[in-house]
């Protein structure tokens, strides 16, 4: 026992030595290694001063991503949008910093707080799981704007006025693509591979199912949920199962859907993607993707913040406002009548003539 206590104290002494010894080492500014198009943050410990958005100073955006900037899915959609916006505005006008693989919520919460205390103008927590963390942190930084999604909750009802929310009506694009797939299917069978039956994925799948059914072509549609956002193999077996069942058009979403896309490519069946452009992954078989475009949302958000409003607004990304886009693959020829019907449905959706019950 004595021995152990002794060792323990030694450990503690050493740890504190290391800590105190190394602390000054952090003082010199970190050299900026350019990662991608990202501008690097200078040293932390910027006082929690109010970052008044002055015109000539760069607008600073921090991004917290559940997955990676290269996941070909939800996270990359936001990251790419910011990078595109930066190209448009100029690097001196827009600064970006990001933290990726923040699927652990305490990590994300630490990052949110840290960015806010560094004086970032806008901190985007890009995942619906970050809501409670934001609600706790935002009141401590009243002149920092926060945003999160997909959700419709800005916490204004709880007296918090510096949180934006964004959400997407992914079911409508799903509806149009469901109809296109049903018309393209020769076997009269289409299959869907979803990760977990919640949130954006759930609504998208609802849309696809109804889109298929409303064509009244006698096409059957079945869904398999893999139970995971990251299980690529389960996605691949899912696609395989649908194909063996005779499906010749497949749908899916989440970053693990690459497994299903590869299976579609190998078996030469059509694929429709969601959240991010899937076409480069398999140009031979990906007919279309419903793609998030966060640029308009971000532009408006930044303008609103510059005007002195730090939150309270819900952005709904839709096909009408350019928040979603259905991107077709130019390499795959769709029969003219199918394309015409798709355009017609798209117009109907945009006019709000189609209702998709979500329950």
């Amino acid at each position: 026992m004595k021995r152990l206590l002794f060792q323990l104290s030694l450990v503690l002494v050493l740890v504190s030595l290391v800590v105190s010894g190394c602390a000054p080492a952090a003082a010199p500014a970190t050299p900026a290694p350019a990662v991608e198009n990202t501008v690097i943050v200078e040293v932390e410990k910027v006082v929690t001063a109010t970052p008044a958005p002055v015109e000539e100073k760069a607008f600073r955006v921090a991004l917290i991503l559940p997955s990676t900037t290269k996941d070909s899915s939800f996270s990359q959609a936001m990251y790419d949008a910011l990078v595109r916006l930066q190209e448009e505005m100029g690097k001196d006008k827009l600064e970006i910093a990001y933290s990726e693989s923040m699927f652990k919520i305490p990590d994300a919460a630490a990052a949110i707080r840290d960015y806010a205390s560094q004086g970032y103008n806008l901190v985007i927590a890009h995942g619906s799981q970050y809501g409670s963390s934001l609600a706790e942190i935002a009141p401590d930084f009243p002149t920092t704007a926060f945003a999160w999604g997909t959700t419709v909750n800005t916490f204004q009802s709880e007296g918090i006025n510096n949180i934006f929310a964004y959400t997407g009506t992914s079911q409508f694009g799903g509806y149009v693509m469901g109809a296109v797939g049903a018309m393209l299917s020769k076997s009269k069978k289409v299959g869907i591979c979803g990760p977990i039956e919640t949130g954006d994925n759930r609504n998208y799948v609802k849309g696809v199912v109804q889109g298929v059914k409303d064509t009244n072509l006698g096409v059957t549609v079945t869904t398999i949920w893999t139970g995971s956002y990251s299980d690529v193999t389960a996605m691949a077996t899912c696609a395989q199962t649908h194909i063996q069942d005779g499906a010749d058009v497949l749908y899916g979403s989440s970053q693990s859907s690459t497994g299903a896309i590869a299976a579609a490519k190998e078996n030469n069946v059509y694929w429709f993607g969601h959240q991010y452009d899937n076409i480069p992954l398999a140009p031979e078989v990906v007919v279309a993707s419903q793609v998030y475009d966060f640029v308009p949302t971000l532009k408006d958000m930044i303008a609103t913040i510059k005007a002195g409003v730090y939150g309270g607004k819900v952005y709904t990304l839709t096909l009408q406002n350019g928040g979603f886009e259905i991107r077709y693959n130019k390499n795959i020829e769709i029969p003219a009548d199918v394309k015409a019907k798709a355009d017609e449905l798209l117009e109907k959706v945009k006019k709000g003539e189609i209702e998709i019950p979500l329950d």
Binding site: P31, P33, K104, I105, S128
Partner: protein, 361 residues
């Protein structure tokens, strides 16, 4: 036996070297990390400076570190008990999730109960659920000879899917249905059961201090009670224990159950103290990191305290490093892996030296 001053000094030096050995392993791992950093064109000294100050440099860093320390310590304590009983509990992940589920369900189903009673009941429920999830592999091992290495891995997968199932259906926040967003989250638990946070603007909750107390209690339990003694005896030498009339399978099962209990409690604290609801990714690898913490703390409940603080700091500082220097998060994972490998490899030198001392002294 009286000892000369000289040998006493020598012994002191010996012991200090033993205690420092695992800590020497850490810089070695970081040295390799530094090479990787330099290949990626990042100044390692600046990067590591950020790592350390990020974790321990100010109040915000320290409190965040301690928030992460709490589940690591609790899971680690569970692993220590199991290890001392001669079983390897890889099921911390699943047990933590079950603890979180039980806590959330209990709190949400008794909304009218007074806060304090409900909070304590919720912790008990979490501990019980974790214990149950550890008891099943324990029972399977005791009765049917199923290896806990296998069953705990399977139990992790089942717990994760069970949580998914609940969050996609019965436990989903009714508000989510109303809004049409269907996020996999439970409703928020009432404020009255939130664990107290002593430091404003930080999420450090009293669960950390409770965990510290538990570390001491586990030490007393293992070294000062007859049940604890038997658990250690079974782990040390099952054959001799059997000969001495100890029911070996029973104590192995007990060790797994107690291990599960602490992981369950960790899950309970994550809900009551950190997230205030049940959601996805609640566990985030504490079940595995807890094993490392237990080893790094030399499989001693009190040793688990500095070990969990160190690893909690590594998690927090690593993220800070990602933010400030913008290196991929995978680099920090890589370094953690190296730390584990170096630490685990360094143990032999301590043992060899101990053996040599035994022979010579």
């Amino acid at each position: 036996m009286p000892m000369s001053d000289e040998s006493r000094v020598k012994q002191l030096l010996d012991r200090s070297f033993d205690a420092l050995l695992p800590l020497l392993a850490v810089p070695l791992a970081f040295l390799i990390g530094a090479v990787i950093l330099m290949v990626m064109d990042v100044d390692p000294i600046a990067a590591y400076g950020v790592l350390i100050t990020g974790a321990f440099g100010d109040v915000s860093g320290i409190t965040q570190t301690l928030v992460r320390t709490t589940p690591l310590l609790l899971v680690g304590l569970g692993i220590v008990i199991a290890f001392r009983g001669g079983v390897l509990n890889i099921g911390g992940e699943g047990q933590l999730v079950m603890g979180a589920i039980a806590t959330t369900v209990l709190v949400l189903s008794l909304p009218t109960w007074p806060g304090w009673i409900l909070m304590i009941l919720a912790m008990l429920a979490g501990a019980a659920a974790g214990a149950f999830w550890g008891f099943i592999p324990g029972l399977l091992r005791a009765r049917l000879g199923v290896s806990e290495n296998l069953s705990t891995i399977m139990m992790n997968a089942i717990a994760a899917q069970f949580a998914n199932f609940l969050l996609a259906g019965p436990l989903m926040d009714p508000l989510q249905r109303e809004l049409g967003s269907f996020l996999p989250e439970s409703a928020r638990i009432p404020r009255s059961v939130w664990l107290y946070r002593p430091i404003p603007q930080s999420s450090l909750h009293i669960g950390f201090f409770i965990a510290l107390i538990f570390a001491i209690l586990v030490y007393i339990f293992l070294w000062r009670t007859s049940i604890g003694y038997r658990i250690r005896a079974v782990g040390l030498n099952p054959a001799a224990s059997r000969y001495a009339g100890i029911n070996v399978p029973y104590y192995e099962a007990l060790a797994l159950t107690l291990g599960g209990m602490f992981a369950g409690l960790a899950g309970s604290f994550e809900v009551l103290g950190v997230h205030h609801k049940l959601l996805e990714y609640l566990s985030s690898g504490y079940g595995f990191s807890g094993i490392v913490v237990a080893l790094f703390g030399k499989l001693h409940p009190l040793g688990a305290i500095p070990a969990s603080i160190l690893f909690g700091g590594l998690l927090v500082g690593g993220d800070k490093m990602q933010r400030v220097v913008q290196v991929p998060s995978a680099l920090i994972t890589t370094i953690s892996g190296l730390v584990v490998l170096f630490v685990v490899s360094s143990v032999i030198f301590t043992e060899r030296r101990a053996r040599r001392r035994k022979i010579h002294g």
